[in-house]
């Protein structure tokens, strides 16, 4: 068994934390704890998964697996007890979380507030569910913990006493955040109530976490705070610079809430680190980022979980501890990597069925990594709920319907029935998107076909077209797109960001439902994410037409018809110039047509929208290579790979520029990096063959790369011949 590289591990989750906001605050000395933390550890972006929905993501963090494996497919699920829906529960998770694995191995393990953590799991330690902090009654009424909120049951009263009710927050707690709180007309503006609720809930979790660190033996603690996400959903539209449409008086009142939320988390981090002690390895991460600049959406789609459009594709990771590097950046991390990394820290094997990898680059020395086929096959008590407690949502819905028909339980009201149907539908939709995100369109296809058959919602047809496109069925993709263009659904009205600071997050909607079990269930589910890494439909735009034109353009481009591609893409641009990735595709099309100035203009427009777009910098590098502006090309390529290390074409472009500039050794390194990421990159092998053939080079390596390039070309020709024959 490999050596343990950590005595204790503290995993801290900050939902939606984003370096884009944290870094300026650290630079100003306003987040001193985090600043010191990263100075003594590693930091980097943490790429999220699609769909960008927190329950799915936090369970991927905790299991190292995508949602199709872990089974958490959205925010809600049918509830056979109420006939409505409930927040997705821990009994729906199909696989072991890191705390279950550690429980199984005898470690003292505590988990607090984790998404889909209710009912609390019977781990070897204390488990506090995500429903623990919610105040369901006014302060002057009894405020019992929901059954199952704390494990073990005997700790229930202790943790009930640690909670804080929003109404207990005094001026002293509120004024540092909102100095002009007295000016708020609370009858009209619910911002202050919303603020107090979020703050109190996070204080509940923090109190519980600090109590455990102070009073319990522990080897592993996982604690999740939703504060940053909730404060951002509620108040990001007041964050400077003032957005169009936000009244100046409201802006002045609430403008500092988001920054103060980060500072508040920094203070909580200080306490956690202090209590955990220097011997503890600490991992701080978020599931996604949050648009905080000019990329803030102008409206929220009116569809399930529409607020998810505000999420950004990169969250944060920072790690500090013995055997980890200090003051270094790590690249290419995804949230699937957290659990394999924690297992390695404890000297435990990684499951081969885990989708993530160990963050080797964070370690001072490459750690020894053992693997087993799956932790699911390892017998023994692991602190999960019994398998029998877990139930498929569709089966739960059938049982519910049957019992209602028999008259044994109350018929759900119309809203509840609608909510159950929505929960089941959204779970299927989310699962389909997991398959698309993990490049398994075959598995997504039946789900999307069914969704598109039963609803004319644009998002289902958009993803179906994308699915056909990924399957190489371009004709079918075009058919769906043409139908979408010819028969568009009624466009949903985008919701304007609320200007009273009380905007609901998808998570809030669940909370609302939880706190009002007798009332109409919230219409909760989710939405397409608002940004695009690849061909993901970019969100529920007012009209699906621009997106349809965009994908049609991509298909024409792949078919080699750059003229038609350009026509489609420019039509999309005219309708919605902020469509994510649009300008990149336009740039690529111009590049292929050798219209270099037009390509450059398009890539620069992409950068106007998102200055941190690695693809746009890569496009500019390619334009400059074509123009033989090699220094500019090298500069742009460096920017591209700096933003996203795993960018093989970026390293390739850098290699070409450096070779032309007379830096053969650095060029060789760049080409080697590119082929390590994309072994089929023929031209990189050719360059490497050429560079190694120079005097002083490695002739054996040169021959090897030459052969690899020849083999790759041969295989490609054979594939093309096969396609032509078919």
């Amino acid at each position: 068994m490999p050596q343990a590289l950590a005595q204790k591990v503290l995993l801290i989750g900050w939902d939606a934390a984003d370096w884009k906001i944290a870094t300026p605050l650290m630079d100003q000395g306003l987040m001193p704890t985090l600043d010191d933390f990263v100075d003594h550890g590693v930091m980097g972006n943490l790429a999220t998964l699609r769909p960008v929905l927190s329950p799915m993501l936090w369970n991927s963090i905790a299991t190292g697996m995508r949602a199709d494996k872990h089974g958490i497919h959205g925010f809600t699920e049918p509830d056979t007890q109420t006939g409505g829906i409930r927040p997705v529960s821990s009994t729906s998770r199909k696989v072991k979380a890191i705390w279950n694995i550690l429980t199984q191995r005898g470690y003292k393990t505590h988990v607090l507030g984790w998404f889909a953590g209710h009912p609390a799991e019977p781990v070897n330690g204390i488990s506090v569910s995500d429903l623990y902090p919610y105040a369901t009654q006014p302060l002057d009424k009894p405020w019992p913990l929901p059954p199952g909120a704390v494990h073990p049951e005997k700790m229930r009263d202790t943790f009930a006493d640690l909670r804080m009710h929003p109404a207990e927050l005094t001026e002293a707690a509120i004024l540092p955040w909102i100095p002009r709180a007295a000016e708020i007309d609370q009858e009209k503006d619910k911002g202050l109530a919303s603020f107090a609720k979020i703050l109190a809930e996070n204080l509940c979790i923090h109190n519980a976490a600090t109590w455990i660190l102070q009073n319990q033996p522990w080897d592993f603690v996982a604690v999740y705070y939703n504060g940053i996400d909730h404060f951002c959903h509620g108040f990001m539209h007041f964050h400077p610079p003032r957005m169009e449409g936000v009244p100046e008086d409201k802006f002045e009142i609430y403008k500092d809430v988001v920054n103060n939320a980060y500072r508040f988390h920094d203070m909580m981090l200080h306490t956690l680190l202090d209590l955990a002690g220097p011997e503890t390895t600490v991992i701080l991460c978020s599931d996604h980022g949050f648009h905080s600049d000019h990329l803030r959406p102008r409206g929220i789609p009116r569809e399930p979980a529409g607020p998810a459009v505000q999420h950004r594709q990169f969250g944060i990771i920072a790690m500090r501890g013995e055997h980890l590097k200090q003051d270094e950046r790590i690249y290419g991390a995804t949230l699937l990597d957290i659990t394999p990394t924690i297992l390695t820290l404890f000297g435990l094997p990684v499951g081969e069925d885990m989708d993530g990898r160990v963050l080797v680059q964070a370690f001072e020395e490459p750690p020894s990594i053992e693997r087993i086929p799956s932790w699911e096959q390892v017998p023994g008590e692991c602190g999960m709920h019994p398998a029998d407690l877990r139930m498929d949502p569709a089966a739960a819905q059938a049982v519910l319907q049957q019992f209602v028909a028999l008259g044994y339980i109350q018929k759900p009201n119309e809203n509840q029935e609608k909510a159950v149907a929505t929960a089941v539908r959204e779970a299927n939709y989310n699962l389909a998107r997991v398959y698309l995100d993990s490049r398994r369109p075959k598995e997504a296809l039946p789900l999307l076909e069914d969704l598109a058959k039963n609803s004319d919602e644009a998002r289902f047809r958009q993803h179906l077209a994308q699915c056909y496109y990924m399957l190489g069925e371009r004709a079918e993709a075009k058919r769906v797109l043409e139908d979408l263009i010819a028969n568009p659904p009624k466009p949903p009205e985008p919701e304007k960001p609320q200007t009273d600071g009380a905007a609901l997050t998808p998570e809030d909607q669940n909370v609302e439902e939880q706190s009002q079990p007798a009332g109409p269930p919230a219409q909760v589910a989710e939405a397409p994410a608002g940004e695009s890494i690849e061909q993901e439909p970019p969100g529920a735009a007012a009209s699906p037409r621009p997106w349809a034109d965009w994908l049609m353009g991509v298909i024409h481009f792949e078919e080699g018809d750059t003229e038609e591609a350009l026509a489609c893409l420019l039509r999309a641009e005219q309708a919605d110039p902020r469509l994510p990735n649009l300008h990149l595709r336009i740039g690529e099309t111009y590049l292929r047509r050798r219209q270099l100035d037009d390509a450059e203009r398009a890539f620069r427009r992409a950068l106007d929208i998102d200055g941190d777009s690695p693809e746009a910098h890569l496009g500019l590098a390619q334009v400059n290579l074509r123009k033989r502006h090699n220094e500019d090309a090298a500069e742009e390529a460096l920017l591209a790979v700096g933003l996203q290390h795993f960018l093989p074409l970026g390293h390739y472009a850098l290699g070409v520029a450096l070779a032309r500039l007379g830096h053969p050794h650095r060029a060789t390194l760049a080409f080697e990096t590119s082929v390590s990421m994309l072994p089929g990159l023929v031209n990189a092998h050719r360059w490497l063959a050429a560079l190694e053939s120079r005097p002083g080079g490695d002739l054996e390596k040169a021959a090897s790369h030459r052969k690899l390039a020849a083999d790759l070309l041969k295989r490609r020709r054979e594939q093309l011949a096969g396609i032509a024959a078919n």
């Binding site: 007890q81 059954p147 029998d388 498929d392 059938a398 049957q402 019992f403 028999l406 109350q410």
Partner: protein, 190 residues
């Protein structure tokens, strides 16, 4: 103490309630649901229990009495009370057949699933409820097999009386069992 009779709908819960009433245990029922061809001797139900998930405090009215709490509502039992649960177990084939017959008689619409799928769903649900009960060791549970009750009412009545504690008239309890009302039997293969 609250004496709970539970199980899947159509698994013998009404019979168990009837036995407890005959045995001398006060039963909580509003008799809003009148006897019919599905349950000729009555349902022994308390309409308000359907509100348990929304109003857990309502269970306080059952203090010292027997009350029918259908399987799906069990998990909404609040803390703060002492419970004993008699959980009826009947073969799922019979439960599904009986439920189908009752739905047909009522003219309502159940889950549109083949019997085998419905059976699998009910099995999963029953397992889920039993697992939940196991996770609550403070709630004693007696699982009672419906067929065993029909086969030996005296012995089962004594077992129930022992489990529930109060001195119940087990003879009167046993006399409530009428095998003639056992209509959806599992077909025995020859």
């Amino acid at each position: 103490m609250i004496y709970i009779v539970s199980g899947l709908p159509r698994s013998g819960t009404s019979l168990a309630m009837q036995m407890l009433g005959a045995g001398g245990l006060p039963v909580l029922t509003d008799e809003l649901r009148a006897s019919d061809t599905n349950n000729p001797r009555g349902y022994y139900e308390w309409e308000k229990i359907k509100q348990l998930p929304q109003d857990p405090a309502c269970i306080a009215e059952a203090e010292g009495k027997a009350v029918k709490v259908i399987s799906t509502l069990l998990m909404s039992l609040p803390g703060g009370h002492e419970y004993r649960v008699l959980f009826m177990i009947r073969p799922l084939e019979e439960v599904v057949a009986s439920q189908a017959a009752m739905i047909s008689n009522l003219g309502t619409r159940g889950a549109a699933l083949p019997a085998a799928t419905m059976m699998a769903a009910l099995k999963a649900h029953r397992n889920q409820v039993i697992a939940w009960l196991r996770s609550r060791p403070e709630i004693p549970v007696l699982q009672l097999d419906y067929h065993s009750l029909l086969a030996d009412p005296d012995a089962r009545a004594a077992e129930i009386a022992t489990f529930f504690g109060p001195a119940l008239d087990t003879n009167a309890m046993a006399r409530q069992v009428d095998p003639a009302l056992h209509r959806q039997r599992v077909q025995q293969s020859l």
